[in-house]
């Protein structure tokens, strides 16, 4: 049997696929961040907490009301997105005229408060959430056993990412949005309600985080710190892709998932830092990120 870099090719394919699955989460989360930063210029540090809320609300729906996973996929982003709308209206909207740093500090503080509240209520051990019956089990691909649920995560992520990219880059609504970020006064003069559009955009970004949370609930531990663990990596992904670039966030999300997956095979000890090493290199060579526009 021939080997590739000391690893049998079957194992390598398996690891590539796993990387792609992790990349789906990076892509979904960094997409939400990129949308919020690109259109609102807010560095949303509470994104991790909102992802965690997504998983928790899915758990609450199932535990307290018996609403299943499929409805949760629809309801949770709306519920958590609505909390995002409230936060944007009450707090973030007051910071637009200030430096980025204020938005960052506000959302970081919010993240700590949200995590603290959940920790107080539910502890830190995490809560069980089962894979829906329709997606349990898996397929033997020959080189690995692919759980159906993971396959579904990749498909769902690709579809949502593409739809978001299409809506922002190719539709009239997306054009309004992009125009409003360039020159809100002028767009407002055309009779478009710019503040409302911005509020809804923030809500949409938060809803994306919540959706990722629902997708993650059955496979990762549902606990108050789940977002805090992930958010730093996702920020690195956004920085590498180029702050605010939608396409950049999606492609780097998937790409870095694969790079990280390969690191886990060849040098597992380094898998936690490989993304940050890449980030450092990209920042040195191309400070605006791989897909970013140089200002």
């Amino acid at each position: 049997m021939f080997e590739l870099l000391g690893i049998p090719p079957q194992a390598l394919f398996g690891q590539l696929l796993l990387g792609l699955i992790n990349g789906s989460f990076y892509a979904l989360l960094s997409l939400g961040l990129a949308v919020i930063f690109g259109l609102l210029n807010i560095i949303n540090f509470s994104h991790g907490a909102q992802y965690m809320m997504g998983a928790f609300v899915a758990w609450m729906l199932l535990t307290y009301t018996g609403i299943n996973y499929w409805w949760a996929l629809l309801i949770v982003p709306i519920v958590v997105g609505a909390t995002g709308v409230v936060i944007e209206r009450l707090m973030i909207s007051r910071l637009y005229h200030l430096d980025h740093l204020y938005g960052l500090l506000l959302t970081f503080g919010l993240a700590l408060i949200i995590q603290g509240l959940f920790r107080n209520q539910y502890g830190v051990s995490g809560l069980p959430y089962s894979i829906p019956a329709e997606l349990s089990g898996g397929t033997n691909l020959g080189f690995m056993f692919l759980p159906n649920y993971r396959a579904w995560v990749v498909v769902a992520s690709v579809v949502v990412c593409f739809a978001t990219w299409f809506a922002i880059e190719k539709t009239r609504l997306g054009a309004y949005l992009r125009a409003a970020t360039e020159n809100p006064t002028l767009v407002g003069a055309f009779g478009i309600n710019v503040p409302r559009m911005i509020t809804l955009t923030y809500g949409f970004g938060v809803a994306l985080a919540a959706l990722a949370g629902v997708l993650a609930a059955p496979i990762y531990s549902v606990n108050p710190n789940m977002g805090a663990d992930l958010i730093i990596v996702v920020f690195a992904v956004v920085v590498i892709g180029g702050m605010g670039s939608i396409l950049g966030a999606i492609l780097t999300g998937f790409g870095l998932g694969i790079v990280e997956g390969l690191t886990r095979v060849f040098y597992p000890e380094g898998s936690a830092v490989v993304i940050f090493v890449i980030m450092a290199i990209v920042l040195l060579v191309k400070p605006a990120g791989l897909f970013g526009r140089t200002p």
């Binding site: 049998p8 194992a11 398996g14 690891q15 796993l18 990387g19 699955i21 992790n22 603290g116 920790r119 502890g123 830190v124 051990s125 995490g126 809560l127 069980p128 089962s130 894979i131 898996g138 690995m144 056993f145 759980p147 649920y149 993971r150 496979i219 990762y220 531990s221 606990n223 710190n225 789940m226 663990d229 992930l230 997956g261 886990r264 095979v265 597992p268 000890e269 898998s271 936690a272 830092v273």
Partner: protein
């Protein structure tokens, strides 16, 4: 003038009477994780356990006043040392209990020795606390990595699971656990096919699980803890690792982890603990009282260890009639321990508390009658075999 003297005199006599009643005032500090990954298995529950020990001992009726203080060390050694120093130097704390996270426990261990106070550890795992880092001021109560590795490792090999692969958290604790278990497995005639070390903490373990699967091992040893273990087990179920015939051996798993996993995912897992609430009538009765104060959650072995260690300490205070450290340590080590949770036992010269350990198997959802009914007892490991022999620890202060 006369009245004033009278008042003064009576006040003085009252004060004297007061001190005669309360001969000894003790201050106990419960230092543990109150917000992070170990908060559920130690945290406020350990404070409740300490308080219950004081009540059950009837300290007030025996002329001992006990005050309990608590703090969050955030699993950081530097935070733990700061709190320990302040407690000993300024707040008059006599005894520190619990302290999960081995690195934090080592820090408190050193300071306690320096200040000549007493440290009774329940939460931390490293067997070095009574080995290379041992101290005449420290008692290690509940469990250690050696006991866990031997309990689970030798039992699995005895059942015919001889080929092992480790998924190890890449820090001191995980590496120690892997090393200890490897020694047990090879000594028992087993074989270790490989290991993968993952960054701590991690989220996705599927890659390591696939490597473990490809190794052809019969057992995957999980040399990690807390959320990492929970995620590994969850994903092993998802990727059909256990269904394909490989067994999982949890090397440090607490009942709160099983509660978080749910039995559907955790069933069949083999693990070692020193306490389970459903062992006998005494543990059941105590655990019910504990749960009533702890939001219905049953105690972990760490919380049980805090109760038992505080109880044993108070007995020594009563016996010696004071709180002089050498006398108390001598009394605690010379008196056999006896409490409703760990039964009969003793504290060895090196500070190691010795009692039975238990090998459990996690029930399937069908076998379980409800929340917290999680374990089937597979074997009792007698106290004499459960812990590392005194001579092998390399404890420096013990006369050879």
């Amino acid at each position: 003038m006369k009245l004033k003297t009278l008042i003064l005199a009576s006040a003085t006599s009252l004060l004297l009477a007061g001190t005669a009643m309360a001969q000894t005032a003790i201050k106990i500090g419960v230092l543990n994780d109150r917000s992070g990954v170990y908060a559920d298995l130690s945290g406020e529950g350990s404070v409740i356990a300490a308080r219950m020990a004081v009540e059950d001992f009837d300290a007030a009726g025996k002329g001992i006043t006990v005050e309990i203080v608590s703090a969050d060390h955030q699993n950081k050694p530097d935070v733990a040392s700061n709190i320990a120093r302040q407690w000993y130097d300024q707040d008059g704390v006599d005894l520190i209990v619990d302290v999960p996270t081995s690195s934090a426990a080592f820090a408190v261990n050193e300071i306690t020795r320096e200040k000549n106070k007493i440290f009774m550890n329940s939460g931390a795992g490293s067997a070095d606390l009574t080995g290379a880092q041992c101290s005449p001021n420290t008692v290690h109560w509940t469990y250690d990595t050696w006991a866990l590795a031997h309990g689970t490792g030798s039992a699995m090999v005895a059942e015919g699971f001889t080929k092992w692969f480790f998924i190890t958290a890449d820090y001191a604790f995980g590496q120690a656990l892997e090393k200890d278990t490897t020694a047990v497995v090879t000594a028992a005639g087993g074989e270790v096919l490989g290991a993968v070390r993952h960054p701590f903490p991690g989220t996705d373990f599927s890659s390591y699980l696939l490597q473990a699967q490809a190794s052809g091992a019969q057992v995957i040893g999980l040399a990690n803890a807390g959320g990492d273990t929970v995620n590994t087990i969850k994903q092993a179920a998802e990727f059909g690792i256990t269904q394909a015939g490989q067994a999982l051996a949890g090397l440090l798993i607490f009942i709160t982890d099983i509660h978080a996993l749910g039995l559907e995912t955790a069933q069949g897992l083999v693990l070692t603990e020193s306490f389970y609430w459903d062992l006998n009538d005494q543990t059941r009765a105590w655990s019910e009282r504990f749960a009533a104060q702890n939001d219905g959650n049953k105690p972990t072995m760490v919380q049980a260890g805090v109760y038992a260690s505080v109880l044993h300490y108070l007995k020594a205070v009563e016996a010696t009639g004071g709180k002089e450290t050498e006398a108390l340590m001598a009394a605690m080590k010379s008196t056999p321990t006896s409490d409703p949770l760990f039964g009969e036992g003793m504290i060895r010269e090196d500070g190691r508390k010795v009692h039975d350990m238990y090998l459990f198997k996690v029930k399937s959802p069908a076998e379980s009658t409800g929340p917290w009914d999680y374990y089937t007892l597979l074997a009792t490991i007698p106290a004499a075999e459960a812990f590392r022999p005194l001579a092998d620890g390399g404890c420096a202060f013990i006369a050879k």
